[in-house]
Symmetry: C2
Subunit: 440 residues, 2 copies
């Protein structure tokens, strides 16, 4: 069901959630071929219905250009809203690439013989109803819908307000494709507006997981206002630690890439921690390299003592700059680096540059982040680069799914027990005994 | 740190959480031998300090006997409070058996070559700080503490009020054992009283997971009052579905065991769903079998038409009786049985009795519960019987850990990436390409 903005006050979000739950049971039962056929139909439908989708997008852009003129949205948000035929082809291609991924449902994760004729299997299965609240990006609609279908879940999407018309056209197109495949169209639902989200967050008996994509404020607001589990992404305050035993050339390249390859994204580094044993030699080289790329440097007192007062001091080590700004701190040793990361980081991704394998092992073991890297850029923290094919987001939550969340993160498991009339009383009486033999 | 009840108003729960977080980093770093040595020391200490623990327990029992007389607690709660030297030996034995389990931390769950010299590993690791809120059982203290240490987590425990003195003596004993092993004693903390719990639930930046054990009301209250992820256990409304192709003798034995082996626990069955094709023959046999065991039968209209009006009707299919009471419903087919389970169940454990392998496969696939069983009793849903060695509880949450939660459920994972100076810019420019070769 697609709701127009004008209906928000009167619609019954609970009814949508109930239909989603019904549809979730239906999509959970689909086999791999059926899900892939649905994804192919969804991709085809996006291409065939491109004229209507582009018209809806043009309307969104008209509204958005006024918002841009009034300073309500940024130029980059406006740019991300824009669709073109080539962009629709990319979206269709991306849906087909999800079809090409392995089915995450029905995998036997563990298998144990409990006794003769009594075998337990831990089997991956879909979660149920996902609620995804996301930013104003049209391609998020098709990406999230494709991941939901492939993982056998129903999804209720709430897009950013600037993209509501485009999202409505896209969801109508995708639901039509599901109908053509005789799949419950309520596997893909759209709701619009904040009030609808508030209502949805109260329906903990039907919605199984909320995935908010957006600011930390949004994630924290949602965590504080629902009993539904939340798979959230806080900040991306990533660190590069340059150890005393680092290759300086490698360290320069890794800091450069971690900071400048794409500064606006969450896996870009915000802070470099430099071992004091190499700081005096290394920092001037780093300053030269980064200033050539127009990176503004901020530093601790020791950094400023080496690089001079042109480097401003750091106001807050918790800051995610998301821009060509790097905070630098000279640390006495790895303990101080790890302590800094635990104190100021967001448990996203941290990397150590060192040729000392013991130092690397200790860093990788002790740092409590979703990604801990050795001699490579923080920018590798990404579902595509990890080989997941697609991601629904990056989780800085520790529970359930951590780091880039692909199809596996959209599944849970159940225990399937195969018996031949086994009852517990016989084991309690000692007539039978468990064998507990791990089979796989 | 152990807090006496009288201090509750003034103590700083945040300070305890901060010390727990510090300690969690220390226990996360321990290797398997160090953790096992700590567990052995904990077990020894319980035995050596038995006199003091039993004295504290005697004081709890004095208070509890007044509560029992006033009807504030039940006779079974009073019984569960009682310690004796033999019970302390059992608790020590149980701690040592956790030491014997495989280390859940540091296991390489997946390994993928992203490119030459660039290898990613998904590695199990501890979660951090656990908060466990539990009932008035002394052995829960040692069981939870042992599982926390073995999984490399710090734990803050909040026991039921009737067991506060005993829990305090036990925790002091366990902390003393940690000190002797040069392990941060703040890995095991105790807080007392409801107000302390309320404060703890607000500390989402330090506490990583809350595990409430107790009533559904408790679990829902906690889910509604914290941003910390909650691993909860709702009701145990388990079902036995007797298919048209069931062996009646097996079905009788499985319903009998599922209902009567231990009716008070969550994996006991509350409802039997009987296919109408066999109901007329099967129900009288079932009534004879269960009435001999003093089980009170409740039924739907069709059941009462067969068994007669001596069978009362069912007031609410959502009820967890936890007693020798069984609700019976005659269903037209498996779809109706599955629909009943999804509508009235608690997603805990359901079993199908049938000799039809296709029917079994469909039931196991379509029923959305933590445990789905074929031809065996619901009572097998238990960490010990599953071969986990020990469990911290049974989760009816779908996220993170589902079903009996053993050591694995107290871990999360991180992605460890080993490189040789790899940067993302080269892949973006097309100078290098990912290989994504799964190694294990």
């Amino acid at each position: 069901m697609v709701l127009a903005t004008g209906d928000i006050v009167n619609i019954d979000i609970r009814a949508i959630a109930e239909r989603s739950k019904q549809a979730s049971h239906a999509v959970a039962r689909l086999n791999e071929a059926q899900k892939n056929a649905a994804l192919d139909a969804m991709a085809d439908a996006i291409e065939k219905n491109s004229a209507a989708i582009l018209r809806a997008n043009a309307d969104d852009l008209t509204t958005a250009s006024t918002m841009l003129a009034n300073g309500e949205i940024t130029a980059s948000t406006f740019e991300r809203l824009k669709l073109a035929p080539s962009k629709l082809s990319e979206m269709a291609h991306s849906i087909r690439s999800v079809a090409a991924l392995a089915d995450p449902v029905g995998r036997i994760l563990e298998r144990t013989q409990l006794d003769d004729g009594l075998i337990i299997e831990k089997v991956s299965c879909s979660i149920g109803v996902l609620a995804v609240i996301f930013e104003a990006r049209p391609d998020a609609v098709t990406q999230i819908a494709a991941l939901a279908v492939k993982s056998g879940n129903a999804v209720i999407m709430k897009p950013g307000r600037e993209v509501e018309g485009t999202a409505t056209a896209l969801v109508e197109t995708l639901r039509c494709a599901l109908r053509q495949c005789n799949i419950a169209e309520d596997a893909i639902n759209l709701i619009l507006g904040r009030e609808a989200v508030q209502q949805l967050l109260s329906i903990s008996d039907l919605v199984d997981l909320v995935i908010p994509r957006g600011s930390r404020q949004l994630v924290e607001h949602i965590q504080g206002n629902t009993r539904i589990p939340v798979l959230g992404h806080a900040d991306g305050i990533c660190h590069v630690y340059v150890d005393a035993a680092a290759d300086p050339t490698m360290a320069l390249a890794i800091i450069d890439d971690s900071k400048t390859d794409y500064p606006a994204v969450c896996n870009a580094a915000e802070t470099a921690l430099i071992h004091e044993g190499i700081a005096r030699e290394f920092l001037p080289q780093l300053a030269t390299r980064l200033e050539a790329k127009k990176v503004k440097l901020l530093g601790c007192e020791k950094t400023r003592a080496i690089l001079g007062d042109v480097v401003e001091s750091v106001a807050n080590w918790h800051t995610e700059y998301g821009d060509l700004v790097l905070a630098i701190r000279v640390v006495r040793n790895m303990d101080e680096a790890i302590d800094h990361i635990h104190r100021y980081g967001s448990s996203h991704t941290e990397t150590i540059v060192t040729n000392d394998v013991n130092a690397a092992a200790r860093f990788l073991n002790e740092v409590d982040s979703a990604g801990v890297f050795h001699n490579c850029s923080t920018r590798f923290a990404d579902g595509y680069r990890y080989g997941f094919g697609a991601e629904v987001g990056i989780s800085t939550s520790k529970l359930h799914a951590r780091g880039p969340v692909g199809l596996d993160g959209l599944t849970t498991y159940k225990y399937v027990l195969h018996g031949e009339g086994h009852v517990v009383g016989e084991y309690r009486k000692g007539a039978r005994n468990f064998k507990h033999k791990r089979l796989s």
